[in-house]
């Protein structure tokens, strides 16, 4: 018995190590404290990171930073914040940089969720549980890893808590479990509401079946109601924001027509040949459940439930459920373990007791060798110099001073402007290149001719369209930021969203990228840069291999000779 416990402990640490290697070690060059953020590959990566920065820098989780709202203060934060709290606390405890803290912590969340599911399957059958560990490598492979590259940290934390909720709901009758459930559900709700709701729906199914089986036991009803009350109490402050129309509208739609994923979602085929074992496991499960008249159904219920949820976009429930496919290797682990167990059981060779501990490690290593590739490139923050320049603006430019950012390759993901921690204006020619309908032809004509001009079409960086002010604990009043700032949000005839011709001489700082994958843009940037520096009131405030940031001491004065 003692030997088996030791073997189990050793196996779990081996699994932990392999997953940590795949999840972060390989990508981070086997270092922990990278000197610039890696994996920021989408706009969300920056928005989410910025929330953690705002919390870390200002200790603020109540109001949206004014640099995201065009300068308007006192607007209520609508984004669920719980995940950012843990990121900041872990940063303080570990001494890591904030961006490293968030990446590592979320890798640990995923691994922990896998280990937690292992203990649930073990309650059903230890051998199946051991084998089920073999599929976990896919958690960090291909499209299953997208959440890390798109910065969906709240969703990852929500998913860990969802696994916890599924675990607890299976044993709902245990003393104190409904209260534990309420804590997990509330935290999930404050991290990423959909996972809180999914956990609640699963618990409701379990409670309903228990009630029918126990002839509507008053005890079950009473405990469930207490748990629900505790949950409501714990989320009361945030609840009005979630149920307000604006947030509901921004989190996908409900209509009974199939929804496509808006990101590279995991598909079943991405599980490779491991997927065949999952399929076999599903069929065997159904046979077992039918033959044994539903005995032990609760152990399979989480897998079936999450299977239905993650395919529900096909009948139009909500496209966001594609995100929950990231955890398929965890939800479907029991099917995988069962499929493999049945395959091994009928092998002619005798499987020794300790071989059961070796098989999952071999399977993990196979997935590592055949399916795993670390993400390509470090992301939109290309290198340390770029991060240094962004940090310079964040730390050195006074809040009231205006900053213009010229063209840069990484700015095709809007959220990156939040990293500057400032109200910035930008003339993003990507909009022209991507042909999304804004009329920037005038600016582009200037570039094509190589003419340096005074006016370029630019826009301010504003993250939201509307945000609430809290009138009372349960009452919100929404403010239209664009109207408030005298700008037009609606896109009409290629205009709107704040795009206007603005003089580059009117800004206190102008940020130039020195390098680009489109050399003409970089050359043009440097041409404007050279023209600005001809003025004795314009000086270079910051420079490195990536950026040059110019300071204009006399904003508003003419700075481009013969410029239009």
């Amino acid at each position: 018995m003692e030997k088996e416990r030791l073997a189990e402990g050793a196996l779990l640490f081996a699994v932990f190590g392999i997953l940590l290697w795949i999840g972060l070690g390989a990508y981070y060059g086997h270092q922990l404290d990278s000197s610039f953020p890696k994996g920021f590959m989408a706009t969300d990566s920056f928005y989410k990171y910025d929330r953690a920065v705002s919390l870390d820098e200002a200790g603020n989780n109540r109001y949206v930073p004014s640099y995201l709202t065009g300068g308007i203060k006192g607007l209520e934060e609508v984004y669920p914040f719980a995940s950012f709290h843990n990121i900041v606390l872990f940063k303080d405890a570990s001494g890591l940089e904030l961006y490293n803290s968030q990446y590592l912590l979320n890798v640990l969340y995923v691994i922990l969720a896998g280990l937690l599911m292992y203990t649930l399957i073990k309650r059903y059958n230890q051998k199946i549980a051991l084998l089920s560990l073999g599929i976990y490598g896919f958690l960090f492979i291909g499209n299953f890893n997208i959440g890390f590259l798109y910065g969906w940290w709240p969703q990852i934390m929500g998913s860990l808590l969802l696994v916890g909720m599924l675990w607890i709901a299976v044993f709902w009758e245990q003393p104190g479990f409904p209260f534990l459930f309420a804590i997990l559900a509330a935290s999930a709700f404050l991290a990423h509401p959909p996972e809180g709701m999914m956990g609640g729906a699963f618990a409701a199914v379990i409670i309903l079946v228990d009630l029918v089986k126990n002839k509507f036991s008053f005890r079950i009803i009473k405990r469930s109601l207490w748990a629900f009350l505790l949950f409501i109490l714990l989320v009361a402050y945030y609840l009005p924001i979630v149920i307000s129309d604006d947030l509901v509208n921004s989190t996908g739609s409900f209509s009974f027509s199939p929804k496509e994923s808006t990101f590279p979602a995991p598909m079943f085929s991405h599980l490779g040949w491991y997927g065949w074992l999952v399929l076999a496991g599903i069929i065997i499960t159904l046979i077992i459940l039918i033959n044994k008249k539903g005995e032990n159904w609760k152990f399979f219920a989480p897998a079936f439930f999450m299977g239905v949820v993650t395919y529900s976009a096909l009948i139009g429930i909500n496209e966001r459920v594609y995100q929950n496919r990231f955890f398929w290797p965890i939800y479907f682990a029991i099917f995988f373990g069962l499929g493999l167990y049945m395959a091994i059981k009928y092998l002619p060779a005798k499987i020794t007791r300790f071989l059961w501990y070796g098989i999952p490690v071999i399977l993990l290593l196979i997935s590592l060798v055949y399916y795993f590739q670390p993400p390509a490139g470090s992301g939109l923050i290309a290198n340390e110099e770029m991060w240094e320049g962004i940090g310079w603006v964040r730390e050195n430019v006074p809040t009231e001073e205006k900053v213009l950012i010229f063209y840069g390759d990484s700015y095709n993901q809007n959220g990156i402007y939040s990293a500057f921690g400032h109200i910035v204006y930008y003339n993003n020619w990507n909009y022209y290149l991507n042909n999304i309908g804004y009329d920037l032809s005038e600016s582009l004509a200037k570039i094509q001719k190589g003419e340096v001009a005074e006016n370029y079409t630019s826009r301010p960086f504003i993250h939201h369209q509307t945000l609430p002010k809290r009138i009372s604990l349960f009452k919100l009043e929404y403010v239209d930021l664009w109207k408030e700032l005298g700008l037009n949000y609606e896109k009409v005839d290629g205009k709107g969203r704040g795009f206007e011709p603005r003089s580059i001489c009117g800004f206190d700082y102008v940020v130039f990228d020195k390098k680009s994958q489109i050399p003409q843009f970089a050359e043009y940037n440097m041409k404007v840069w050279g023209e600005l520096l001809k003025n004795n009131f314009v000086t270079e405030a910051f420079s490195n291999d990536w950026y040059s940031i110019l300071k204009n001491e006399k904003p508003g004065e003419g700075c481009i000779k013969n410029g239009k």
């Binding site: 189990e8 402990g9 779990l12 640490f13 932990f16 190590g17 940590l20 290697w21 972060l24 060059g29 086997h30 270092q31 922990l32 404290d33 919390l55 870390d56 200790g59 989780n61 719980a82 995940s83 709290h85 843990n86 900041v88 606390l89 872990f90 303080d92 405890a93 570990s94 001494g95 890591l96 590592l104 640990l108 969340y109 922990l112 969720a113 280990l115 937690l116 292992y118 203990t119 073990k122 309650r123 934390m157 808590l161 696994v163 916890g164 675990w167 607890i168 044993f171 245990q174 104190g176 534990l180 804590i183 997990l184 509330a186 935290s187 999930a188 404050l190 991290a191 714990l234 402050y237």
Partner: protein, 139 residues
Amino acid sequence: MENETITGHKTENKKNELILLLKKEGKIMLMVLAALLIVFKIVFYNESLLVIGRTALGFFWLFVLPGYALMLFWRGRLDFLERLFLGTTTAIALISLASYYLTLNGLINIHWQWIVLPLVVEAVVGGVIPYHQKRRKIN
């Protein structure tokens, strides 16, 4: 669910049972921490021991230890691994919730919370468990 204790001790004196359990599992927890450090050092072999040590300790202090303490209420019902993993998950939830409301009200500076919150959880558990045991005995 099995009604098994990890120690296998069946004694009427619950206090002694708890102390025995803590002694035994205290050693296991130290082994968990040591294993955590070793795995971190193997995976992040280019990183200094200092950074590795602080990171592993940080995670252990912030989430694993409070989670273990919380799950002592279920010590007779869940085995060690279940309590370790479910406890850490619960601590992740509880610490984030506590931090959210403490920050919202400005009660404790966020940069102190990583020290204060685990201590509070452990102190509360330490204070409540004797009462909880007494009640269980009466029942």
